[in-house]
Symmetry: C2
Subunit: 332 residues, 2 copies
Amino acid sequence: MTTKQANPIRIGVVGYGNLGRGVENAVAKNPDMVVAGIYTRRDPAQLKPLFEGTPVFSMADLDSHADRIDVLVLCGGSKDDLPVQSLALAAKFCIVDSFDTHARIPEHFAAVDAAAQAGQTTALISAGWDPGMFSINRIMGEALLPDGATYTFWGKGLSQGHSDAIRRIPGVAGGVQYTIPVEAAVEAVRSGTRPALTTRQKHERHCYVVLAEGADAETVRQAIVTMPHYFDEYDTTVNFISAEELKEQHSAMPHGGFVIRSGNTTEQNKQVIEYRLQLDSNPEFTSSVLVAYARAVHRMKQCGMTGAKTVFDVAPGWLSPKSAEQLRKEAL
Amino acid sequence: MTTKQANPIRIGVVGYGNLGRGVENAVAKNPDMVVAGIYTRRDPAQLKPLFEGTPVFSMADLDSHADRIDVLVLCGGSKDDLPVQSLALAAKFCIVDSFDTHARIPEHFAAVDAAAQAGQTTALISAGWDPGMFSINRIMGEALLPDGATYTFWGKGLSQGHSDAIRRIPGVAGGVQYTIPVEAAVEAVRSGTRPALTTRQKHERHCYVVLAEGADAETVRQAIVTMPHYFDEYDTTVNFISAEELKEQHSAMPHGGFVIRSGNTTEQNKQVIEYRLQLDSNPEFTSSVLVAYARAVHRMKQCGMTGAKTVFDVAPGWLSPKSAEQLRKEAL
């Protein structure tokens, strides 16, 4: 852990799964921040933080801890936790969440904005890498090259949603799914020719499945590859493996992908902008993004910029611990 | 040219070389902007704009045109033009410049800031891709992965400075120089191992040279490859070609490069962020960036955010012609 500066930004971590552990880790790497507390719905005495000395509290304590915390990082899920927690907590705390149900972002924003406006807090929603870094690159690419096309590829990466879908199939004892961008499609996009690509042409899906005792492999394979929305529109390969191999070879959570904007500035001149992430750990990277945005939220609150915000509202300099002067000198 | 919206942002173009033409082109692709005028030190009657109907004025007219212009895009050089023009014009106009002498950015910022504060204008300096997009990716990479290393590679691209250096050598009738990133170095960086790389290991320099009549090829080659700062620290290859080949094969101005941040979120997990540009035309892309930042400058001025700014101060959403609501709905 790095040595802490004086008056560090005090981060509260709400929820302690993969994302919460990632936040504890990320804060440890930032000298201008400390974890003021992990807040859990479990029994705090049973929760073992990564670093000795990180305080653990019950969620019920949060209400009386407003003066101990500068920014809460919400580490719950988008389905059940954040729609409730983000607005409840934004009424009293500055928050960052990673709400990632794309279609419901406008309503989530409106609800959190009302709470944050009422409480005069700063509440940044939907941080992470997609939504998040990828979103920024989509809108900047479009702004820089208005005559162009934007492509997003995901992977190679473990998809939690698709892995869950596999595991719900009768006869499946365990399994994971990797989303793989099709290299030929990525190359076509990089060439700047703006190809029209079908879903099938952009990504493949690779499944590693452990069969339940007595289950028929071909029946399971068919159930997977024909599953509507999840697999039917893709070229899907299913590999059957042992429970041991699943545990040993497929416990990591790699992910990543590309946002590519290609466009023309004149008829003869193509320009290609590519943003790429290669992540050994999806949740650890997402947590690192949340923590950097917690710094920005703290600054925005200090400048009186309250209400709900997204990554689109955050100037790059606000993410850095360095002063604007130092950034201009060193990094411009 | 796209159909223009009502009340477009009125752009003044100061200087009409490659960059100025690029700005005229880029504005044509943005429906929320028009070129209010090109301002030249030459005889305006002799200057032929790309689009019929683009007004051309003398630089001397600028002083009386303050009410016709929302943002001036300065298209002069960093050595002689911008140090004088940016501060003179920021006193009266909102401006964007592409000042790219990295070491002198702090003093340029201070001088322009004083002028802009006095005139209550918004003046964004050092926009483009490096400084500019690459700078943003350097500071964001560092903020997201504090335990890491940042690498910038340039090319494949035509370097104006190195081409000029070649052309000053006795016996050289013409020539260009391409900077080429060494693929093995890029791959090593992408692997996340944070290699220590020497100047020689990162880039090669490829020269295409036309000899003057009677000049000795080996003498010229030696003069190039041993030139201090420009070539001596690099593996440089010199190819002698005809004047015709130089004109036909080497008149374009491609450029680009990579900013790669690799870091660890935990000991076992590496994360790699890569931003890449592949540009058929360096000046046309730079102009497109300047025009997007002109939009941001206009908005910042309307919000009362005056003084000197850099790309670090500009939230991504301000670059887009779309509303914050539309961006959240479509791109987050």
